[in-house]
């Protein structure tokens, strides 16, 4: 019997509180060894890791590349896989490979198979793909089954066709099906981070509201603690609540710190929408067990009769090249916001002599308004500024041409009162122009209305 079958049988035979280890909120950036070892010594019934999110921007999803380095990703996968097999408990990983589309999942699976081969591990693995089939999605667009939220423009058939990858966030159903198929390892493409941890307790009959609330917290590791951090966290769940404990003794889960975590990256701290229902935290209670453990209860769950799948897709907008430079000249700094558009006009007159305007060129002036959504008026000018010019063009060569031309004419651009006639800007290194490869934007961020939230994500079983 495999790990999930063994754990399910054990709990059905003799019910007891269940222990879940949130090993990493971002697998692939390193798991602290000491606290992970501490977590394993507590003999969890499941080890879970979240591996991705939409927060990292559209390019990883579009390009099909991981955000984490292959070396550190492999090291983390090996750590959790080895521990889960030694304990004979399920290892559950969601949003494989940062963005959870086919290439991300395949790269993750290739690493897992390679680790198994190298280390002589054998196990049964469930794999759930999150890519949404295009013909079915086009049908859904035509029949009004796709809706917008957060003021996103309506999804068009062209958006569906243009996107490099489109994934859907799977909920608990596919994870439950995987765990019920008697497996040792579950690897999902794009998934709700909660499903990684809530699915096993839910199928064992623990209250879904508590399991979901617990999952929402432990998917981030020890971020809910003071001081917050990425160490593994252990949750022990029973039928009345759950207790949280960081596996780093310096991190304390306090009632306030855990309650405050419900705010993190959420627009509403009281209700959270999942594909299969709604988590309601209006009556959640947070109590101290001791000075570094918190007990949480009161979260409730409402199943939905109208499931929705959140879709994410990214489309290529061109090739990106950037120019990196700075200035320490007070007169240039004072005028640069009006000078830069003039430089851009000059660049256009040169690179578009015999070609149409087929690119965008933007500047961000760090020190003035490079970072803030809104820069306040009447701020004193800084002593230095960093200027980033960014070009997005149809080809890598065109983007490079634009930023190289820009570099030269920004360096020598004349303006009233100019003293530094040998050059306006400083380069930290040369070449100061960098080609960054293809640029993407999210063109799909919509809700797909379905009859069955699980049908899109069938479970495939593989013996490794």
């Amino acid at each position: 019997m495999s790990a999930s079958g063994r754990v399910i049988a054990e709990f059905r035979r003799s019910p007891r509180p269940i222990r879940l280890l949130g090993a990493s909120g971002q697998l692939g950036y390193g798991i602290p060894a000491a606290s992970f070892k501490g977590g394993i010594e507590r003999k969890p019934d499941l080890i879970g890791c979240d591996m991705g999110s939409i927060d990292i921007g559209p390019t990883y999803l579009g390009k099909g590349e991981m955000a984490t380095s292959p070396e550190s990703t492999r090291r983390d996968l090996r750590r959790v896989l080895t521990a889960a097999r030694a304990l004979d408990v399920p290892l559950v990983i969601g949003s494989a490979g940062s963005a959870g589309a086919g290439p991300h999942l395949d790269a993750t699976l290739a690493m897992i198979r390679d680790i198994a081969r190298t280390d002589g591990l054998r196990f049964r693995m469930a794999v759930m793909r999150a890519d949404i089939p295009r013909p079915a999605l086009l049908d859904a667009v035509r029949t009004g089954k796709v809706t917008s939220f957060d003021s996103m423009p309506a999804l068009t058939e062209a958006d569906v066709t243009d996107a490099a990858h489109i994934v859907g966030q799977m909920g608990m159903g596919p994870f439950r099906a995987a765990l019920e198929a008697d497996v040792d390892v579950v690897i999902a493409g794009r998934a709700c981070d909660t499903a990684i941890f809530a699915s096993l307790p839910a199928l064992l009959g623990f209250p879904v509201g508590l399991a979901m609330h617990m999952a929402k917290i432990i998917e981030c590791g020890s971020l809910c603690c003071v001081p917050g951090g990425r160490d593994p966290i252990l949750a022990e769940l029973d039928h009345d609540g759950f207790t949280l404990e960081s596996m780093n003794p310096e991190r304390r889960a306090t009632p306030t710190s855990v309650a405050a975590h419900s705010l993190y990256e959420q627009s509403d701290p009281f209700t959270m929408q999942e594909p299969d229902g709604t988590l309601d935290l209006t009556h959640a209670r947070y109590e101290a067990v001791d000075d570094r453990r918190a007990r949480v209860s009161g979260g409730t769950w409402r199943d939905t009769s109208a499931p929705t799948i959140k879709l994410e897709g990214a489309t290529k907008v061109g090739e990106r090249a950037v120019l990196l430079c700075g200035s320490a000249d007070p007169r240039f700094i004072e005028q640069c916001k009006s000078l830069l558009p003039k430089v851009a006009d000059l660049v256009q007159s040169l690179v578009c002599e015999d070609q149409p305007l087929d690119y965008t060129l933007r500047f961000r002036v760090y020190g003035i308004d490079g970072v803030r959504m809104v820069a306040p008026e009447n701020e004193a000018p800084p002593g230095e500024v960093f200027i980033m010019g960014e070009c997005i063009a149809p080809s890598r060569e065109r983007a490079s041409e634009v930023v190289r031309t820009c570099k030269q004419f920004l360096l020598h651009f004349g303006y009233p009162g100019r003293l530094s006639t040998a050059g306006n800007i400083a380069f930290p290194f040369t070449p100061p122009e960098v080609s960054l490869g293809p640029a993407y934007r999210f063109n799909v961020y919509h809700l797909l209305h379905v009859d069955d939230a699980d049908a899109l994500f069938p479970v495939e079983i593989e013996t490794v």
Partner: protein, 100 residues
């Protein structure tokens, strides 16, 4: 007194790629109550600071976490060409100097 002198945490982050959420957390119930009742943290004032219409700004008091949450639309979708802060992690700065 400035908000940055009272709060323990003042942070911003995306809540999905189209919305920005700002969390202000306090070390004591006294500090929380004092700020939660101040009109300086009303939708009108926050909307003015971020140049977002007040009716698109949501203020959520969260006493159990001694925190106040502010939610508003991002002016540009995260990661779109022209974005300035893909994670939205540095948009808290305008809150720091609010006089309470």
């Amino acid at each position: 007194m400035k908000l940055s002198d009272i709060a323990q945490v003042i942070r911003s982050k995306n809540a999905g790629p189209r919305r920005l959420t700002l969390d202000i957390m306090f070390g004591s119930d006294t500090d929380y109550n004092r700020v939660a009742q101040s009109p300086a943290l009303g939708a009108e004032n926050i909307g003015r600071l971020y140049r977002v219409p007040a009716d698109q700004v949501t203020i959520i008091p969260y006493p159990v976490g001694r925190a106040i949450k502010i939610v508003m639309p991002r002016t540009i979708m995260a990661g779109d060409p022209g974005d300035y802060d893909v994670y939205g992690a540095q948009q808290h700065a305008p809150l720091l100097g609010i006089e309470i």
